[in-house]
Symmetry: none
Subunit: 225 residues, 2 copies
DNA sequence: GAAACGCTTCGGCCCCCGCCGAATGTTCCA
DNA sequence: TGGAACATTCGGCGGGGGCCGAAGCGTTTC
């Protein structure tokens, strides 16, 4: 009757700080070698190797053997969503250190959630698109209108490419810091690509946080009315 | 760095079987006394009490003091949703019983994984096919090239028959012992059939393990270059 | 009151598992 | 053909935490 055993397997994997740090480092959807993940988690390479093995066996990560190294990445967008869901539930936790607070604030402002935009920026863009009738919100999901498709293509979003993907086209992802939905799915990823291409935002190195470029943001605000 | 610490706190709570069983018993939204939850989880009342305290501190449960007892219930629907999300991700994993597979050398060497080749042999064949450009690896999935189709047909693989199936044609299956992908799906099954037909490997009775026939392996190695 | 019930706290046991360093493979580069 | 870079396996250590039984405290019932 219960699905408890299935839950524990996955949750136990996520319950270790080192493993969670590795997963967090992979939340941008990139593939990273084991050594870098060990460094980020602050453990010895041998320790990281064991953790990565378990994460792969638990189907949370996939491994891509390279020439001399092995690169790990999140197994799917589902994993990223799960981590977001966990963050949402745990985000009431207090922040003690000032440095950590700064990082948190940067993440709250703008970040990538796996491969799409999140944080205040991501939610704002999504809501602007809804207000402009580019997106229809339909019981927890998004739908792209005909006019909206034209609009997004003008914005430089590869809508056709997004449609070609097998994954869900446009879905809602509940933002853990804003507690409001932002655009996810293939279209969300395409929008994020456009945002980076057009220079509205830039990636910060070694971080999921995004830097919002003032000029780009102003231009975007203009376009979105 | 991201929100990893927040994730671990919640996930660690869910990662324990006893706690998960208690949460599972509360998934209907009802409030239940500690004693009943202890019984359901199969632990002593004292043990359950500690778990329940931690779950309340972690804001996953709320407690309602009654006259003589204390009733616990899920703190919110978010908790239930999170448990559902975890189950969904956990149940995606193929039944592929890691534990029951044992650690016998025979299984590591060569075996069937459902209906396709796995173990060192399965991975080696797959990687040889990739190296020979028979298969293209495309973000965790395989694609059969035009030249590759000719090659496999020459090898005795019923590619047309595999295409006729409704199931996924060529997919990657992560090898539990090698931790590298091997070919699965309809094409993987057809390849395994060919391997048995041509005598490269033979089934062991009452076992998933395969015996690699030296002559067959040599012949195969010749063909694969 | 005293006994029964429900839950929690405390002390102690033990196993799991996260951690490291050293050794081993594998691949690439002089 | 060595050596360097990268990753993994192995052996062993140590701490955290899950577990129980006994004891403590509040409430209900006789």
């Amino acid at each position: 009757m219960g699905h408890a055993p299935v839950v524990t397997d996955v949750a136990a994997l996520l319950g270790d700080p080192s493993r969670a740090a590795m997963l967090d480092a992979l939340m941008d959807g990139e593939a990273r070698p084991a050594g870098e993940l060990a460094r980020r988690a602050g453990v010895a390479p041998s320790t990281a190797s064991e953790h990565l093995m378990r994460l792969v066996e638990g189907r949370l990560l996939v491994v891509e053997p390279r020439e001399r190294e092995r690169r790990y990445r999140l197994a799917s967008a589902d994993v990223a969503e799960l981590l977001e869901a966990l963050s949402r539930l745990g985000s009431e936790a207090p922040v003690n250190s000032l440095r950590a607070a700064g990082r948190t604030e940067a993440l709250r402002a703008a970040r990538t959630c796996y491969d799409h935009l999140a944080g205040r920026f991501g939610v704002a863009v999504t809501e602007a698109l809804v207000a402009r009738d580019v997106l229809d919100i339909r019981d927890g999901s998004f739908e792209l209108t005909d006019d909206g498709e034209v609009f997004l293509v003008d914005l430089g979003v590869d809508v056709a490419g997004a449609r070609a993907h097998k994954r869900v086209f446009a879905r809602a992802c509940l933002d853990w810091s804003e507690r409001r939905p932002h655009l996810a799915g293939a279209l969300g990823a395409a929008l994020a690509d456009a945002a980076l291409d057009q220079g509205w935002v830039r990636r910060r190195p070694n971080d999921r946080a995004l830097r919002v470029i003032p000029k780009g943001a102003a231009e975007l605000r203009e376009l979105l009315g």
